[in-house]
């Protein structure tokens, strides 16, 4: 990047160079992300297929590897139908509102030490704030569709997301108390020194709460009442077709990958190697066993796999039980955990340091 900057500075004004470099970085983050989204859909169909003892997609391309590409092409050429008496502008803004926050958050996610687009001071808060905007896309889609099913679904989503956001926020409070910083890079650095220093161990309760509310926040099974096929057809996106529908799909999977990555960063030490620096001097394997982006990739993939696993395993929660779990179980757990953690920190009793 530095060589590129100096090269561009040779014949361009400085402001323009900065802009170009930032744009290139954004593309470097988003392009792999969208590819990852495409292949997550493929992985989902394959994994759930094998869990249910069937093959999954295996016709398009070698072993079905071109299936997501074929799906995209099909969706692109489908006609986008607008329902009569729908609010046209909101109808088309809603999918964009769903997708934009899901992509914007990646600006503050560090991929390796220093590998971050914007190293913001209050990074964790920013993540929480931007992900809280996700819900507007769904709510507005439901309202603008002028459909009973869609609006029922968007009401469900509204209540569910607001409830689980609180539990999620409290779990993050526990993390920032342990790390003493809101900056995501600092939070990962606070966990350095091998697997026993990761925040999962002292914060195991918050870790579970965070991941469960992450699943609820992204409206995935078993909390996917927003698109409960058995009651409200497809929920908020019944009326959407073609690329407008695909944007919702993209947003959902991008948020899934985001929650997996965040869980890995906040609780499992992100890019840090589980062996710490003990094996750095091993001749050949040293660079693989040391810290690096590949560890983040592995950890995030594990959580992504859990998402698919949940979907294949659990039946859908009933709506009132989702609310009960959020308000009466997860929030009290986080409150008690934060209280205990506060006492531990006040007494200078930090077993994880």
């Amino acid at each position: 990047m530095d060589t590129l900057t100096t090269f561009l500075n040779g014949f361009l004004p400085e402001g323009l160079t900065t802009l170009i470099v930032i744009l290139l970085k954004i593309i470097a983050i988003l392009l792999p992300l969208i590819l990852a989204v495409a292949y997550t859909t493929f992985a989902e169909r394959k994994i759930i297929g094998y869990m249910q003892v069937r093959m999954g997609p295996n016709r398009v391309g070698p072993k079905g590897w071109l299936q997501p590409i074929a799906d995209t092409v099909k969706l692109m050429f489908k006609e986008i139908i607008t329902p009569t008496k729908s609010s046209k502008m909101v109808f088309f803004i809603a999918p964009m509102l769903a997708l934009a926050p899901a992509l914007a958050v990646w600006a503050v996610i560090p991929f390796w030490d220093g590998g971050v687009l914007a190293n913001v001071n209050a990074g964790l808060l920013l993540v929480l704030a931007i992900t809280s905007l996700d819900v507007f896309g769904v709510i507005l889609a439901g309202w603008a569709s002028n459909s009973k099913y869609a609006i029922l679904s968007s009401l469900r989503v509204g209540a569910q997301v607001v409830a689980y956001e609180i539990a999620m926020g409290f779990a993050l409070v526990g993390v920032l108390m342990a790390a003493g910083s809101l900056n995501l890079t600092e939070i990962v650095r606070a966990q350095s020194g091998g697997i026993q220093h990761w925040f999962v161990w002292p914060l195991i309760g918050l870790f579970l709460v965070y991941f469960i509310s992450g699943v609820a926040e992204t409206n995935r099974a078993p909390f996917d009442v927003a698109e409960g096929e058995s009651e409200i057809v497809a929920g908020f996106h019944v009326e959407y077709s073609g690329m407008a529908f695909a944007l919702f799909f993209l947003a959902e999977y991008a948020s899934m990958i985001l929650i997996s990555t965040l869980t890995a960063l906040l609780f499992l030490g992100g890019w840090l190697s589980p062996f710490g620096h003990a094996l750095d001097n091993v001749p050949v394997l040293g660079s693989i066993l040391g810290d690096g982006f590949h560890w983040l990739l592995i950890k995030a993939s594990i959580f992504l796999f859990c998402y698919l696993w949940f979907r294949a395993t659990f039946p859908r929660y009933r709506y009132d039980q989702i609310m009960r779990l959020g308000w009466k179980v997860l929030i009290p757990v986080t409150l008690v955990w934060i209280f205990g953690e506060g006492i531990a920190i006040a007494l200078g009793w930090k077993p994880w340091l």
Binding site: A129, S132, L133, I139, E165
Partner: protein
């Protein structure tokens, strides 16, 4: 005009236009959406002032939580606009008087010395974290106001629940704890009995 000023004017313009839109929009859902836009762009202005904590919290609390519930309510209401607009001309003079009075008061306050004589504070260095600074001052100097605010909020929550909670008799409710605790023995009973087919056959034989 520096780039920073350009951003400031851009976001201020968006804030102003969306704020005007909130009042003039015919559809209440559009009004709520414009209010969200106003919140968002004023949060951006705060971030520009290097108050990134306040800016982010504004988005998190108002846009992410309050406005969601707001939209929720508005979408469920069946608002008819025509009755709301009835008597617009009749109330216009009163409204105008109030508007002029408020505007005049605001101008007088803004022009007063206590406003114009305050020196512009220096910008905090970029490295400083204003989350920490705010936390420190909130929990030391302003701890009593902070706690009182917290208590008031709790009172409001409890009052709201107490007003809406009603216990009806004869309602069958589920107890999830009980449901989880049930054992197989509570639901299924195995009984030893003779196979029915034989008895039936015997009965047929006897006939």
């Amino acid at each position: 005009m520096t780039f920073e000023q350009f951003i400031f004017y851009l976001f201020s313009a968006v804030t102003l236009f969306s704020a005007v839109g909130v009042v003039t929009a015919r559809n209440p859902v559009y009004a709520a959406l414009l209010l969200i836009l106003a919140f968002f762009s004023s949060a951006a202005t705060w971030v520009l002032l290097e108050a990134e904590f306040l800016g982010v919290v504004l988005v998190l609390v108002y846009v992410g939580a309050v406005m969601v519930l707001f939209l929720f309510v508005i979408m469920m209401l069946d608002i008819k606009l025509d009755p709301l607009r009835e008597g617009f001309i009749r109330y216009l003079p009163v409204g105008l008087v109030v508007a002029i009075a408020v505007a005049a008061e605001m101008i007088l306050v803004m022009k007063s010395k206590s406003f114009s004589d305050v020196p512009i504070p220096e910008a905090a260095p970029l490295s400083s974290s204003n989350t920490e600074a705010l936390g420190e001052i909130l929990y030391t100097e302003y701890v009593y106001p902070f706690e009182i605010a917290a208590v008031i909020l709790v009172v409001a929550i409890i009052a709201a629940i107490a007003l809406t909670l009603r216990r009806r008799k004869g309602v069958k409710k589920q107890d999830p704890g009980k449901q989880v605790r049930t054992q197989r023995a509570d639901r299924v009973k195995l009984i030893k009995m003779k196979a029915e087919v034989k008895t039936k056959m015997k009965a047929e034989k006897g006939r």
